[in-house]
Each structure stands twice: as structure tokens, then as C-alpha cells.
Symmetry: D2
Subunit: 335 residues, 4 copies
């Protein structure tokens, strides 16, 4: 069986997904693409030799089993609702929305339609991070007590993007909140966050921070620390560590090149892989393989709608914590 | 010139210091040892062939330039005051006292006498951690923004020790608070701490925790995360990382053996060195070399009395933060 | 411009090349495939949606700029001669032939036709090994004095393959001989080889060895050691090290997963990536990018016909050295 | 029980041994030192507070259980014979002699006297290399098939030393020949060696080489490669690897500092520890502990006289191989 996809949104991430689905994912093909910019859709269409359509309606009338929602965040829920009504299996990029009520509207539509939904927290499919979560799940570290996540982008996005990003917690740390839930296997109780503007004053002027440290407490007693930054001059720094009663599991960074050069100055290794397109390429492919497999076998999607909702709430609590200078209970946000 | 030492206190750490000073530190010799337990003093006396004396007064009447205060914490200040009056250069193990007023009494005596005082925060002399602090100091990581410290003991001390330890923050994390000040080169403003009893319920029954996560904010805007545990089954886990605008410096752990074994199951390395006597042996020696050098040249001691006082206050703030579930300003503690 | 390829040979490596060229190499497409087994060609044809043809003549009459020769070794030269006469840019898998006279017949045809020829020593395009060669070329290790190459397959091929492989030196070590020339930038003068049957007695019965150590001397004074084995239970072990007057460059192995698991038994990492399809995927893609670029710009091919010939001669010398128990000069083989 | 030592020879290595024995080896003390240079003996005497004596006879009349022979190589055997006659347990630095007949004279005297003899191949006591040998011995790598040894000094000794060193094979590679026997647990059959003058032409003028590659074949079928150099600008490079049917064990190098610095240029680590006094300090201490233990318990010495003789013969074969350009059988040297 081949799962036929329509890809909604042909920006950077949508273009990547379309190419992966059409060329590199066994059992998948793209049967159409759509973007509000006809040029963007046209470029993907030309590259892959698949039709571009001119409206969401046309996209959902194509003969396909699944849609990949890769549009701008503010349109995710509308796409989701429409796709659910059309009976499609849905892949939706994170975050579902920056508004919890909107998220809930989307999830209700999905539930009503009974269609499968997967949220694109691709890092769960990174073999390194996954090995940490699996080590916890199979008891290899014993009871999980502390999780440390370091997540540093190589360089900040344009200020124009910052302004519509929803803020560092919901734009960037949302992956780390998901990772904390994934690795501990436990919901978050409270959040304490401290933020700073260290990378670019313009980010502060846009009402956001670019550097932050966060502490999460979990239902199962585990504690998570997260440190994030919008800039790391040595590359994309992505580490997860789970410590427990029987040991510790750590994912380690990926260097651009697996080599060392020794001289009188010491040993030198290459910087880290530049950013997510390189670092997480395998995770995107493995995520698609898991999605296609779940569609084919009618099994549950690996990352559910509620998995998409929870990190958004944590992000809101983090923002409130930073603003008020105190730890915030999740129950304060999500009544 | 040889600096002659009297060693006060012949427990585990005092015995180590006496042996190092007498046998392995160039320019130093031990001319007498004292312990309230004559047996302990006698053992060191026999091993090193130096006289044991029977009272603090006798100890301070020996012809010596310096004393090493390695007695139990509650007697540090009395020793310090007496040694200061006797005109000795003073090395004092950490913590000076668990009581800030006592600390201040000691420091006043030292100041009045005009004698040099060094507090035994040996980790500053560990070549790995030191390289991190020096990288920050010379600007190799740019402006320091985030410091991450992981500090996990292999196994908890006896419960009897827990009861008199002053609690995990002032017994164990005090080294990490010192490290945060040392690496950032900046004072601490506020502390947020969350603690858990995960290792041994008896530690909780003794009124303490055994696992904690701490966030410090610094005067210069830097943020420090610390995670501590009383138990790590894979050995003594001691890592410090400083991240900034121009890069990152990290100290890495020491394995028992520098070797790998590859088999069908993968690659295996030895556990970490067991505990501080092994891991920090070089730091203790380098600390003595720096102390002796400062005495010989009349230069300032590398770790001052105020450096000994500050982490105690941070530890008190951490305890209050944990108890009250909120970040605590240092100014709340230290008026 | 798009370079159109005909792929000759649809076995394991030809299928991989066809898929890479058609789907993952920018500026390339496959316009036809051929295999003596129509089934093999048909499978690739169906997967990629490109025509399969039934003869070499038909393949060379397709409108294309280039051919990829991926047939069995004994047919490489016939394909090369025909493709040269047809004016195609030629990619030929290694080895060109196991017979030097045949190699020379192929190279003469290529020279007469004036077409570009590249030999598929893909490891030169591995970023790790390439960084070693580039470090030597730019003088980062000073004058190169010693090269150490470790090359261990995870498991031996079928005995049926061993019998037609040309022997371990020309089948397996040929890559390492090429690497020695590539890294040192210097021709080989003499070869000393010792071989053993350690992996499977059946390999010995087939007249081959499965474990060997080789020493090469080079024109520029450098010395190369090579150790090869047909079996490494911990994965595909591929290391190259260049040592010189100013330092050392080393490529390091690729583990299946970038993570560690620490327990009371120590630290554990995953085994190495299984074999060449995983380990060298990037090298194959980068090799194609270089080939396509050279065709487009009319620049010299990165790995010439003579680069394909030299390792074969070294392999013959290695076999003679092993058989006669003495170092053999290249000039004894290649008059 | 305390084992009393007389140390013969107070050069660099003798001074180190005297200090280790007197101050850092439990159960050992130095009761006298001797050197043909009274000044050298006097310096050690002053530092340790032990008597210096003026002749070998006086040294052997001191009340002691053991001697440590650390004199110049050409006097080892005379010291050994005298110490054996005096009934002392003997530690002798490597090489016993550069002349096999002399070695045999010494061993006969030891055998006649029935005293214990240990040859100072300290690297067997390095925890990293030892772990490799132990992995082989307990079967963790299966049948050992290939051993790779890299042994590079940071910088060459003075030319005056080169002239009396016995040549690179017996001065420097002798440790590696011992390591090959130790790790494989098997005698050497044949040697093939290629040498070069790459570091300093003056070494060539002194009749020696400074860079070499060696292949050993062993009785048990194993093959060893050794590469040595008199100069490595990045520090003292000491690696041993044993590969076999069930896996591989590797000792890894020691960096000066356990830390990394990441910047836009990549990751940087410190150079390797400078030379043997740093790198092998633990091995010297562990060797003494094993010697003292064997004396106390009357158990066999860990490194026997024959273990001291075999590498000398291998070194002679290596020299002959290099000179004659062919592999040399051990049986050609040692009839």
C-alpha cells in the first residue's frame, strides 16, 4: 500500500516534508501541494513533478489518505478541521496553535471525525534522544530523577519572525517541553523560568527574551532543567540527559565531521552540525516512517493531539513564571 | 624557604592534607598534628614521623608559619580565631561554619590579626574546572550567559553524618555555589531550589533532601543551573559548563581507566573515578602549591574569607527557597 | 543543466547509484537502466519510473551525457570501451578489472575518445577521511610521515563471492591502497603483506585470506600501515590517521547512535554503523555531486583512470609479498 | 612488613623511583642510595633524608631486602650479579643490557642465587594498557588476531644520548615489543621493520633512525603493527589496540586537561600529557606495589628476566630487518 499525501504549506519545512515524502519515504507519495503563495507551491510542484492546487478545498478533494499541515501556525487549526472533515489522516507541524482554545477546537474536530492525528515533534524520532527515552522506559536508568536538556540554536531568526513566533517558550522551548514529557513519561506540575536578553537587544524590544533557564517538576517526582539560547557560535547544541537510580542516559551532539586534528595547540574537532535540517534529517524521515506505518496498520499515532497541547500550556506557564518571578502551577493555566 | 604547617584535625581529610603537605608539596613540611582524638593524631604522627600534640594551645605554640584547620565544622571558627591571634597563615576547610555570625566572628579575627586566610574550595584548583573558569576570564566564551553544573556523589554518607551536615545545600552544594561564583566571576542575586528525597527515605526522615535542582541568577546577568544528587551508580559525576556569546567551555568527567572495549553489544568504558579523593587529588595538591606560594611571596590568598562566606549565604537562601516554594533574594538572607 | 545518466548494472550497488542519481543528486537524472538480468533492471525501472533497456547497445543509444558502470567486474572494461566510443562521460565502479592489461585496454579507449572517466573510490568523498587528506594537503600535519589505516568489514561475504573477488587485496584492500595514495599524495614504492585465515577456514580453502597487515613505502618517504579483516563484531571499523612533523589528523568511527548509557558497569555506546551502505552514504552522494560538477564544467574528474589502475598493481604486489614472504617492489609488477 | 630498598643510580629515573618508594609506596622505604656521581646521590639523600653511600659494595652491605637498579644500561648486569650474590630481591630498569650474552650472564647469576628479579617494563602496569591485556587474557576480544601499537615521544633526546642508546629499536621500541608479547600472550616469530630519518638529520648521522614501522608475527598467529616516532608535537602518543574474533580493546590517550572549548572554529581539547613522567606515573606506582607484594608474599615477579630478554632479541631482529630490507626470523638471532 502507498499512502498518498497532500502537503499544505510550501515554506521551508513544507518543502522539506514534500521532498522527503515523495522521494525518501517508502510507502508514501505526494499527490498534490498547496500554498497561499502560488510561487512556493509551483516551485515544489516543478521539483517533484506533482500537481499544485490553488485552494485548501481543491487540496482536500485530491484522492489521498493523508495531509501534512505545514502552513503558518495561525492557519493550522483551520486546516486541521477541514482535513478532519474530509476524513484525512493528519500530520500537523508544531505548535498546533498559540491559543489553547484554538487547539481544543482542532482536537474536537479530529475526535469527531475519528481521524488519526500526529503532531510533528520530530525530535522524539531522533535516534540519539530516542535512545535516552527508551533507556528510561525500559528501566535502564532506574527511577528517573533528573532530566537536563540543553537546546541552543546557532543563530536567531529574523526579528520579523520573533514578533509572530509566540515567544521563545512556545516557539523554541516547546520542543524541550515535549522532550521532558517524552523522556520522563510524566506530566508537568509546575514551571519556573528565568529569561534574559543576551543575544540581540532587538529581541527584547520585540517583547521576547533570547536566553532562558527553566525548571519543571513532574507528577512522578522527576525534575527537569532546560537551558535555551537563540545563539551558539559552535553550532546547533542539542543534548538530553536522564539521570536516575540505576544510571544515566545521554544523547551527544553531532559534529559536522567525524575527525580530529592534533597539533601543538591541542586536538581540534569540527563545530556541530549547523541546524535542524542537518541535525534532525533522520528524525524527520523516521517520523514519516512511523506515521505511514500507523496509517497503514490503523495503529495509534506516536504523538497525539494531547501531546501537542500539553507543551503549549507549559510554555504559557513558563511565560507567566518569567513575568511574575515565581514558579507557576500548570493548574493555574489549564483549569 | 619551607613553610612549616601544623595540621589541626586528623580525620579523613586532615590525614590526607597532612600526608600531602609533608610528602608531596614542594616547600612545605608538617611540624605537628593535633586532634581531639589522640588516636587519630597518633596515627598520622606515626605514619609521617612528626609530633602529635595534645591541645590547640600546644599546636599553636609550635614553631610554624601556617595552620591547616581540618577539624569538625563546628570548631573551625575557634581554631581560626586562635590561629589568627597566634599570627599563623590559615588554611580552613569549607564550610567555615554553618552560622553566618560565627563566620563573621572568624573573619573579623583574621582581619584584626592581618594574617592570610584561604578557604579550602579545592575544586577551583582542579585543572578541568579551572580551565573553564580561565576560559571565561580571558574572554574565550565571550560574555558568560549560562553555567550548568552537575554534581553527583557516588553514594550518600551515613545518616549520622547527614544529621550534622547542615543539609545538602551547605554540605554538598556549597562547592557548586562556589564554582558558580568562580566561573561567572559574579555574585549571586537570587536562588530557586527544588529538592526531593529519592535516594534514601532515611535522609528525608533526618530532615534533609538527597536530590535537588537549583537556579542562580547573577549580578552580571548570567544564569546558573545546578543539579545535585547523593547517589550516582556510575561514579562521581562532576561537570561544569560555561556558555557565552563566543562559545562554550566544559570540564569533562574522569573515567577510572582510559580505554574502551568494543563487542557486539557496543563500546564500553569504565565507570567514573569513585569519589573526591581520587577525582580531586590533583586539585588538593595544586591548592597547597598555591597556598605555599602565597605565603612565601606575601601575595593574596586565592580563595578569601569572603569567598568562604558567600556560598554559605547562598545555601541558606536555597534552603529557604525550597521550603517556601519561591525564588529567594540573597538580600533577604544577608541584610 | 541536468546530466542524464544511463546506469549499467542493477545489482546492490547499481540500484543504490540509480536511486541516488535520480532522487537525491541535484542536476542529475536517470534516463535508463540496463542489467543482464531483466528482472533486476525491471525492479529499478519500476521503483524509479525510468525505462529499462535490453542491451548495452540500446543503453548507449539513449540520449544521455553519462553512464554509470556498475556491472560485474569482469564486464567493466567492455562497458567502458563501448561507452567511450559512444562519447559518454564515464563513472566506473572499482576495480576497473582484475587484469592490468584489461585496465590498460579500457584506459586507452577512454583516452582515444577523449571522454571524462571517474573511478568510484567513494571513500575519498567521505567527509571524515577527506578531512584527513585535506589536512595533509594544506600542510596542517606538516610533512606526512606515517599513515595508519584500519579497515574491518562487519562480516565476510558469501564464499561464492570470495572465489570471484580477486582476493582480499584487490577486493577489499584496494580501497585502502587508494586511501594511502590519496592521503599521502604520493605513489607506492614497495609492499610488505602478511595474511592469515582467522575468520573462516572456508576462505582459506577458497585460496584467500581474511585477515592481513600491510606496510607500504611511498615515494615521498611516508610509510603506511594497513590492517584489514573480513569480520568485526562491533560494526564497520573504518579509520584513517595521518601523522607528520606538525601534527596528526584522524578520521573517527561512526556509531549507530550518538548517545551513552552509564550504569554501575560503566559507560556504553552503540556499536558502529553496520556497513558501507550506511557508513558511506554521504560519500556516495558527494561523489556524484563532484562527478556531475566536473561534467557540467568540463573540469578533470576527481579520481582518474590512473588512480583506478595504481591500487590494482599494489594489490598484486601485496599478494606476491604474502606468497613469497618478502617485501615486493612495485617495479617488479609494473614494468 | 616493610621492604627496605637500596636505590642504585640517581639519575632522572632513579630519583623518581627513590622518591616514589620512600614516600608513596605503602610497605616500602629507601634505606640508602648510590650513584657514581656523589652529587646525584647527595641530592636524593638530602631530599629524602636517607644515607648516600659511596660504592656498590657499601650499598649492598646495607640492611635491605631489595635493590632498584637504575644505573646506566651498561652497568646493569654488574649490579645485578652483585645484588644477586648479596641475596637481594632485584628490580632492574629496562633494558637489562644491549648485549644478549651479558643479559644471560645476569640471568644466570640471578638463577644461581635464587633471588626474585623484576624488569621495569612499567607500561604493563598502566591501567589503560593493562585493561587491554586483561581483556585479551579473559577472552573478551576472543582469539586475538591483530594488535596495533602507536608509540610516539614528544621530542627526541639529545644526540649524545642517541649515540649510546642502542638504537631506536632497543631504546624506544623495546617497550612496544614487550607490550606486543604482553597483550598477545604469545612469543614473536618474525620481524619486519622499515625505518626513516624524518625528525632530525643528526639522528641519521649518528647511525640511527627516528621514525619506524614494524610488523611482528606471533606464535599464536596474531599480527602486531607498531609505529614509532621520536617526535609528536601534540604530546606523548601512547595507544594499544587488540582486535579479535569477539571484539576489540583499546587504550586511549591522556590529555593534559579533561575539558573542551567550543567556538566558531570548532571544539578544542588540550594536547596530550607531555611525556612518560606524567603519563606513566600511576604505572610506576602500581609496578612498585606489585613488586613489594611479590617480595612480601614470595610470589613470582610480574615481569621476569626472560620477559626482559625477549624484547632485546626482537629489537636486534628489527635492526637486521631494516638493514637488510627483509623480514627476519627470531630464530636467526637467537639460536
Amino acid at each position: 500500500m502507498t499512502v498518498r499525501f497532500v502537503v499544505l504549506g510550501c515554506g521551508r519545512i513544507g518543502t522539506m516534508h514534500a521532498e522527503y515524502l515523495h522521494r525518501r519515504v517508502s510507502g508514501a507519495e505526494v499527490v498534490g501541494v498547496f500554498d497561499v503563495s502560488g510561487d512556493s507551491a509551483g516551485a515544489v510542484s516543478a521539483e517533484l513533478g506533482v500537481p499544485a492546487v490553488e485552494s485548501l478545498e481543491d487540496a482536500l478533494s485530491l484522492d489521498a489518505e493523508a495531509v501534512a499541515i505545514c502552513t503558518s501556525t495561525d492557519t493550522h487549526v483551520d486546516c486541521m478541521v477541514a482535513a478532519a472533515r474530509a476524513g484525512r489522516a493528519i500530520f500537523c507541524e508544531k505548535p498546533i496553535s498559540l491559543d489553547v482554545a484554538e487547539v481544543d477546537r482542532g482536537l474536537r474536530a479530529v475526535e469527531a471525525a475519528g481521524v488519526p492525528l500526529h503532531i510533528g515533534f520530530n525530535r522524539r524520532f531522533d535516534p540519539s534522544h530516542r535512545s535516552v527515552a527508551e533507556a528510561v522506559a525500559r528501566g535502564a536508568v532506574g527511577d528517573v530523577e533528573v532530566v537536563n536538556i540543553t537546546s541552543r540554536d546557532p543563530a536567531p531568526p529574523p526579528i520579523s519572525y520573533i514578533a509572530v513566533s509566540g515567544g521563545i517558550f512556545n516557539d523554541m522551548a516547546i520542543h524541550d517541553f515535549d522532550m521532558a514529557r517524552y523522556v520522563t513519561g510524566s506530566e508537568v506540575d509546575s514551571v519556573y523560568a528565568v529569561g534574559r536578553v543576551r543575544v540581540d537587544p532587538a529581541i527584547g524590544e520585540a517583547g521576547d527574551v533570547d536566553t532562558a533557564v527553566i525548571v519543571l517538576t513532574h507528577d512522578n517526582g522527576a525534575l527537569t532543567t532546560i537551558d535555551i539560547s537563540r545563539r551558539a557560535v559552535y553550532g546547533y547544541d542539542q543534548r538530553v540527559e536522564a539521570f536516575g537510580s540505576a544510571g544515566m542516559a545521554q544523547s551527544t551532539n553531532h559534529h559536522e565531521v567525524s575527525a580530529v586534528l592534533a597539533s601543538g595547540d591541542g586536538y581540534r574537532q569540527a563545530p556541530l552540525q549547523h541546524f535542524f535540517l542537518e541535525r534532525y534529517a533522520v528524525s524527520y524521515l523516521d517520523q514519516w516512517a512511523a506515521f505511514v506505518d500507523a496509517v497503514e496498520h490503523g495503529t495509534p499515532m506516536p504523538v497525539s493531539g494531547l501531546d501537542g497541547r500539553a507543551p503549549l500550556v507549559i510554555g504559557m506557564a513558563a511565560k507567566k513564571s518569567m513575568d511574575e518571578g515565581r514558579p507557576v502551577q500548570i493548574s493555574e493555566i489549564d483549569l
